[in-house]
């Protein structure tokens, strides 16, 4: 009997989690995963910006998915908020053909047109993660919605799902395409849609981690709160984790539970978004 129960749990839990995620998206409401209180191993041995250590959390609830365009639109409709990219006309976008790490500044780019008007809007992408927003925009959303960004440590605890390896499944990269929307091309000179998406994918399009978090690697980098040991005093840099649709194994490789990116707090790239934590 217990064997049958175990079989059912193993067989159907991922399906139930997947359905929960999809329902949350369709319902335009956030589905949260509870991370239990406890001590967790984070970082990597000798890694200056993320040293191996044990941290304690009292537990928190983190969104199962990245925040979608639909959810961000509710905020904008309710408040009339204007994002940094809209005000400063400073959105940074990508188009195939650019050299590695090169982006274009596009005055038409903003969350409604993440890669500029000429590359299309979000009308049919309301279940994609919101992007081309700055850290400041993410904070404004959080204040309105009564939520907050995860800390760097909380993000890592959630992403690891109990593992102490570079990825939540181990230290080898290959299973990545099952779990993450990333760039599979050798460079960014040619378009790459080999996983079905060149830019963002609808949230929860890929398999979740064992704790039910979708797109924890890839899709969009996720803003977090906190500083790094190498941040200079008074630095206004902010940090985002998890890699993005732009990231490839050859040119970024930040789609893991160890690396932490740095970006200016007003920058609005089309591969930067966020997920929230309950206050």
């Amino acid at each position: 009997m217990s064997g049958f129960l175990t079989y059912c749990l193993q067989r159907f839990t991922p399906v139930l989690l997947l359905l929960a995620g999809v329902n949350a998206v369709n319902g335009q409401s956030q589905h949260f995963v509870h991370i239990p209180a406890g001590d967790y191993t984070l970082g990597k041995k000798g890694y200056i910006n993320n040293p191996l250590r044990t941290v304690h959390t009292n537990g928190f609830d983190i969104a199962a998915t990245e925040l979608t365009n639909a959810e961000f639109e509710k905020f904008v409709q309710a408040t009339g908020y204007v994002t940094d990219a809209e005000r400063n006309k400073s959105g940074q976008v990508f188009t195939p053909g650019l050299r590695e790490f090169r982006w274009l500044q596009d005055s038409t780019a903003c969350w409604r047109y993440p890669n500029g008007i000429s590359r299309g809007g979000i009308e049919n992408k309301m279940n994609h993660p919101v992007a081309t927003i700055s850290y400041r925009d993410a904070i404004a959303y959080c204040e309105w919605a009564g939520v907050r960004l995860p800390t760097l440590d909380e993000w890592e605890i959630a992403s690891r799902a109990g593992a102490s390896t570079t990825y939540f499944w181990g230290n080898d990269m290959p299973p990545l395409s099952t779990y993450a929307n990333i760039w599979h091309g050798r460079d960014h000179l040619q378009a790459d849609s080999s996983d079905g998406y060149m830019y963002t994918a609808p949230v929860a399009s890929f398999k979740p981690n064992p704790w039910g978090l979708y797109d924890i690697y890839g899709n969009v980098f996720e803003y977090c709160e906190g500083h790094l040991p190498t941040d200079k005093a008074g630095s206004r840099l902010v940090h985002a984790r998890g890699g993005s649709w732009w990231c490839s194994k050859n040119a970024c490789g930040f789609f893991n539970s160890v690396d932490i990116g740095s970006v200016k707090r007003g920058a609005s790239f089309s591969n930067l978004g966020f997920r929230v934590v309950k206050k």
Binding site: Y47, F101, S262, R265, G266, A267, F269
Partner: protein, 244 residues
Amino acid sequence: MKYLMFVAAILGCLRLSAQEEPPEWKNPSKSSLAYAEYRRKLTVPPYGLAKVKALIDKIPYKEDDSSPMENKDYLPLSLREKFTYHMIHAEISAQNCDVRPPIQDEDKKIFGQMADGMEESVWSDRQSKFLISNRDSVMALIKESVNRSKRMGANYKMAIVEINGREMIPFIIETYNKDQKDRDLLTLLMLLMKNNEYNPFMVSQSYRKLYGDNADYQSYIDYNKGNEDLIIKRATDYYNTIRK
């Protein structure tokens, strides 16, 4: 037989576990950290420096942290002053994963990519266009400045890549040979060969290791006399093909 299979299975699991262990990481040595700082240093051009710095200080702070100089200040600058401005002030934000974490044994490696001295900023479109459309002057100014300061900062090396300054190969080798300290000059030579698709380099083992399918932005070859000589010889051979 079953016992042997069981032992084989256990050994297989142990082997898998061993493979999953990440490579041992150690804190970078003092010499590695010192070299990391050295290779990220910019060269500050002397041309109208005080005037350009004063204008940069005047740039209004913007919430998006991008900080282009306004046209009314930028356009009247002379070519040399504009060069100074671009070399010390990149106008737009760099991507989140552009800045790499600290590397160990940095001083013992020749990387496929040069250190980025601008860190969280990159040249804007107008800055890149200036460098490319004035490439002859840019190359002349870099030579003049390097001869004065005796070193070629990360910004100058980045500018040479930006303008595809392959005519500078002999000068880059000459600069390297002064103290043979800045291995990013060897990287610069390789980037010029790669970007111009110089076939003998494209089919080499170094190319595969540094720019092949499994390479990333921290790929490197060991710094040793053999590799150093080979890079310089290949770059010289390449230069001889383009000057004909």
